[in-house]
Symmetry: C2
Subunit: 345 residues, 2 copies
């Protein structure tokens, strides 16, 4: 049984905590959270989550609120084998010394610089590179989604060049202070965006250029891809490959799946926890092949796609399980799908 | 003096009417408008615009409202040399017979199918092809913006292949019934979108693929472009060429121009009528060259960019003026700029 602690209980932390709880080979020892808000109350009352304060000074707020608090970060670190750091982007870097001094292994998120860890990780791409490591970084939602797709395309057809435009949801639903509300923001205004170089930390040597535009939505990113393959192929072959690739699902506008709002909708209709979609969502309608060039659209649920990767990263650094075995366990426990999730029209 | 009528007084029609009024060689004879709303009242009282009803049955609403009405569409057509049809997309096709039977020349907008006219028109690209024609179609905002830019790149460096993602504003500010308000919509979900083929009606043989995503904004479209040039060049040469190209302006995020909201803002700060930006707005920050590949972002003010083209189209079909002379007159009257509109940082 792998003893896991989670530091942070925001968009990613709350999901990782629940995903850990649903693994038969893991135990969620506790979660570090600064503020005893309604999310803490729900986690305690519905899920029995044990919370820890970041430091001694943080205990008081929990006691005043009347919510159980089980100690501090230092106390939690003494009880766990692996800690999953989900603190806000850039803060994990500063936490690393603390983790290092206590001997726990740690998983960081994509908001940290690559050098926070020994390996930048996407399970389908480089699980083995993370085996037995001390520090692993699960890359960001956009990078994860692109790595899964482009790695599979490269394995099957070769990728000579990939040109990607990321239309990014500007904020998660809870982030009400963020904008814009009526503007498109080239972000960054320079090209390439950081996503391409970040992707190369997972798929070295991939010839990819990324351009990112922020839009006022909250539900999912949309990527447009133009990929020059290593050989000519057909639309059918690409769809066939994508249909059998783990953690990629195919949808079609003709079946009524028209926008990122439908990413949220199928999450709810499927009864997923928090309506999460862990899979790359590729529009089959969009898949278009012309000679060696392939074009398509995919949507990425930014809150959820890295959750399976965090679970696999825990196994990669803390067990001897193979990549396939870990992903099988993760996907079965979370209900991760592949292939066409509705009948084609 | 070219006698001009405008049919429709929406986003495009109201702007074309005012632009015609500001030309020394044109006279706005009248505008056809079905409803005597606040915009009609402003146009009558501030600008002395003469309105005409679409038919006899439409006269009554104007009289009841107490606004002057000067006759019907048929009456207007008898007084003009050229009519600019700005009826809602697809409706102009049905109006063509009426225009044809009265002997006027007509200009249609990009919402009509290409076969509505003899020529699909962008002034900088194919003014001469429209000379002396009876029916000309000014292409849509996106197509106009792409045609200006890609034609200039092709002339200067050669364009071997262009891959464009259009992040489209979903609605104009007035179109409050349109969505989405929190979703990204691949629109159409198939690739290519219609923009590529439409662009080829203006720049035949251009090797371009377009992918379009609709976003919940109202201010401007944003295009990301990846263009394989015919020869290697430098970022400086591309910026140099763009700096001297008519109807293209360069902005930079470093100067504070960060999003499509700033397209509206400079329109207001510059004192433009309706805050209109007639130019392609290219982010200098984004211009990036790697071997023969060029990458950049541009914004297109969807309400305004086709206005100069409508004015030039009128001259192309009704006068002997050259393309350069017509564009000089148009640009001087509307204050159209080129080059860097702020000091580089």
């Amino acid at each position: 049984m792998i003893r896991v602690g989670v530091v942070g209980y925001g968009t990613i932390g709350s999901r990782v905590a629940d995903a850990v709880r649903s693994q038969s080979d893991m135990k969620l020892v506790g979660v570090v959270k600064p503020t005893p808000d309604y999310r803490a109350e729900i986690a305690v009352s519905l899920r029995g989550v044990r919370f820890f304060a970041p430091s001694e000074g943080g205990l008081r707020a929990w006691r005043e609120r009347g919510l159980p608090i089980h100690g501090t970060l230092d106390d939690l670190l003494r009880e766990v084998d692996v800690v999953v750091d989900t603190t806000p982007g850039g803060k994990g870097r500063g936490m690393r010394d603390t983790y290092e001094s206590t001997g726990v292994k740690a998983i960081f998120q994509g908001g940290e610089p690559p050098d926070v860890a020994e390996v930048s990780f996407v399970a389908q791409v480089n699980y083995d590179a993370a085996r037995g490591r001390r520090f692993v970084r699960v890359v960001s939602c956009n990078t994860t989604g692109l790595a899964r797709l482009l790695y599979a395309l490269d394995r099957e057809f070769g990728v000579e060049r990939a040109i990607v435009t990321l239309v990014r949801r500007a904020a998660d639903p809870k982030e009400v202070k963020k904008g814009p509300i009526d503007a498109l923001v080239p972000d960054p205004p320079r090209i390439p965006s950081h996503h391409g170089p970040d992707l190369q930390t997972v798929v070295p040597g991939l010839n990819v250029i990324t351009m990112a535009v922020k839009a006022p939505t909250t539900h999912s990113h949309v990527h447009s891809l133009a990929v020059k393959l290593g050989r000519e192929t057909s639309r059918e072959d690409v769809l066939g490959m994508l249909s059998s690739e783990r953690r990629i699902v195919l949808v079609s506008a003709a079946s009524g799946f028209r926008s990122t709002a439908d990413v949220l909708d199928i999450g709810r209709e499927l009864g997923r926890p928090r309506a999460d979609i862990y899979e790359n969502v590729v529009w089959a309608d969009s898949v278009s092949v012309n000679g060696r060039w392939l074009y398509l659209f995919q949507a990425i649920h930014q809150e959820a796609i890295v959750i399976p990767e965090n679970i696999d990263a825990i196994r990669a650094i803390a067990t001897d399980l193979s990549a396939e075995r870990s992903m099988d366990l993760t996907d079965a426990s979370l209900g991760v799908k592949s292939g066409r999730i509705f009948r084609p029209p």
